[in-house]
């Protein structure tokens, strides 16, 4: 491969993207920043507020509660989706038409419009006519419209159903890239299925698992359409996550300053997180012997040595 050429005229090729994103991202964010520091009564009548809105946000129990709800939700779905995704990916057929069919079937929940996911689960969880609702009602009373715990349970179940396939696909792609030689070495060593998973597969899956973990965390942190359709944030505010609360503030209550300050904090939080994400992702791609690649090299040498000695013993 030839090295990339240094050429600042490449900026001309990037220019259309920069212009588009400036109009769709920068200007809107500047508007938000502008609103967050002043109270706008009319285009000609506005009052500079300083950081007042930010202070209101930090102490508003509704917003703090929504934030905590998002955190709880993300933790719960991660604890379920990551192990379940790995489990399903290891069961998936690897060859032939079955592998293609399995890929397509696993991916179906991912291409369903998010509001249809909400509608599907709303129908499914109806305590009077839905399969899930009626099913649970046989054992204990279940009412998604009135019992906060039931609504929460349905929201988690819905997310697990919707997004575990993403984890599965990523892990499946990671598993496919493990050379057969590794499995051969493991079987020569008579490794148990558990140690094959623990010492051969898991280290190789580190990168895809990192992607899956971060994607799922951020996505669940921004979730909107599914719980909005499912319960509208109710009963009460029991499933009101931050995006739902923000859209109420911005579009329904039209509380511009507060919504803007909230938006900015929300935005910054995600930005910091994506910075971490990007750094982790590109860790292996940096030129030169990075820590990760040096470590990989060492592991490889150790594996080769181990295989050699094992072979000599038997």
């Amino acid at each position: 491969m030839l090295a990339k050429r240094k050429n600042n005229r490449a900026w001309l090729l990037v220019l259309p993207v920069v212009i588009v994103v400036a109009f769709t991202a920068i200007i809107p964010i500047m508007t938000v920043a502008n609103y967050s520091v002043q109270d706008v009564f009319s285009p000609t009548n506005r009052l500079y507020m300083g950081l007042d809105f930010f202070r209101q946000i930090a102490t508003d129990p509704a917003i703090v509660d929504a934030f905590m709800r998002n955190l709880t939700f993300s933790t719960q779905i991660l604890l379920i989706e990551i192990p379940l995704g790995i489990f399903i990916a290891r069961l998936m057929p690897r060859e032939g038409w079955k592998a293609a069919a399995a890929l397509v079937i696993v991916a179906i929940p991912l291409v369903i419009p998010w509001n249809v996911v909400g509608v599907t689960w709303r129908i499914l969880a109806r305590p009077d006519v839905g399969l899930l609702g009626v099913g649970i009602n046989q054992f204990r009373p279940f009412d998604i419209g009135n019992t906060p715990a039931d609504a929460w349970f349905t929201m988690v179940a819905m997310d697990v159903w919707h997004w575990t396939p993403l984890v599965t696909l990523l892990v499946y792609a990671g598993l496919r890239s493990i050379p057969q030689a590794y499995y051969q070495a493991a079987s020569i060593d008579a490794a148990s299925p558990w140690s094959v998973f623990r010492f051969v597969e898991l280290p190789k899956l580190r990168r895809v698992l990192m992607i899956a973990l971060l994607l799922r965390f951020m996505d669940s942190f921004m979730i909107y359409a599914e719980p909005y359709i499912l319960t509208g944030g109710g009963p009460g505010t029991s499933t009101q996550v931050m995006s739902i609360l923000l859209s109420v503030l911005a579009v329904i209550q039209f509380d511009l300053g507060k919504a803007a300050a909230f938006s900015l904090i929300y935005f910054l939080f995600i930005q910091v997180f994506s910075f971490v994400f990007f750094t982790v992702l590109t860790l292996d791609e940096r030129p030169g012997p990075t820590k990760a690649s040096a470590k990989k090299q060492k592991v490889r040498e150790r594996e080769i040595r181990a295989t050699a000695t094992e072979g000599g013993n038997s």
Binding site: A10, V21, A25, V116, I123, V129, A225, V251
Partner: protein, 282 residues
């Protein structure tokens, strides 16, 4: 990637006479499909049956939901609205992203890493943050409640996605190709359009599918930027309550119809699906 052709020991999924892994997998998939089968079953039932009795397999079948969907201009109109803004968005995003992805894959230039990261962060920004400014911006320029507004607004997340996927595909094309073309006297424009683009048509296809998909599934921005005239299918679906309550059969039928384009799409991109979703849901 190393590939060995010696099938001595295969991966963990084969080797035993009773393939319990395979059985367990298909059983799990059956469980996974229950919500969708339920949706299909609801769409085929009579509203009075839905509300009066619980049954797993419908005792009588009605296609009223579907016929109503395709005869009511409000419904098929919203379907067309959704299709039109997703298509516009797909074409615009790919067109804008092509030269940029080429620049990222072929050259280093001042600030390229920062620019790439900055594009990426837009893909990850919560849509809810942009509601307020989008609403005012598109109202100010008179595009509110048109499909153009949604098509432009969705470029927020689809342009970075398109740049990213295309850059990956372009980096797979050897740079020698560019240099040979240059030596042969091709001007950049002609080289790009007649040689380079045909070479990465698979990548362009995959990018188009994913930009289509992510515009198709989005609800929040589409809902905020439209009124009655350009109402997308997703929004029309949340306004189905009549005096008699929700029209469950029609709502389910609309849900089934909204899933169809996505299912068609995954068949075409099944080999790129992990990568597309990894980048697409950033």
């Amino acid at each position: 990637m190393t590939t060995t052709n010696i099938p001595v020991v295969k991966g963990p999924s084969s080797g035993s006479y009773f393939d319990w892994r395979s059985w367990l997998f298909w059983f799990l998939m059956a469980v996974w499909s229950i919500p969708l089968l339920w949706l299909v079953s609801m769409s085929l039932r009579f509203n009075e049956d839905i509300l009066s009795r619980f049954e797993v397999i419908p005792s009588r079948i009605s296609f009223r939901g579907y016929t109503e969907f395709f005869t009511d201009p409000l419904w098929y109109g919203s379907f067309i609205n959704s299709l039109s803004y997703t298509t516009m968005n797909m074409v615009l995003s790919v067109a804008v992203a092509l030269p940029a992805a080429y620049a990222f894959s072929r050259y280093t230039f001042s600030g390229d890493k920062h620019l790439f990261f900055w594009l990426l962060t837009n893909r990850m920004a919560p849509a809810a943050v942009f509601l307020l400014p989008f609403y005012q911006m598109y109202q100010a320029v008179g595009l509110f409640d048109t499909t153009y507004a949604v098509a432009l607004a969705h470029m927020l997340f689809n342009v970075p996605l398109a740049v990213w996927i295309l850059e990956g595909f372009m980096s797979g094309v050897p740079k020698q190709l560019d240099e040979i073309a240059e030596i042969d006297g091709y001007k950049f424009g002609r080289f790009f359009l007649t040689i380079f683009i045909p070479m990465i048509r698979a990548g362009i296809g995959v990018t188009m599918f994913f930009t289509f998909m992510f515009s198709w599934v989005e609800l929040l921005i589409a809902r905020t930027l439209t009124g009655p005239a350009a109402m997308p299918l997703a929004v029309q679906m949340s306004t189905t309550s009549t005096a008699a309550g929700l029209d469950w059969a029609l709502l389910s039928a609309a849900g089934v119809i909204a899933i169809v384009p996505g299912v068609i799409v995954i068949w075409f991109v099944r080999n790129y699906i992990a990568k597309g979703f990894a980048l697409g849901r950033v």
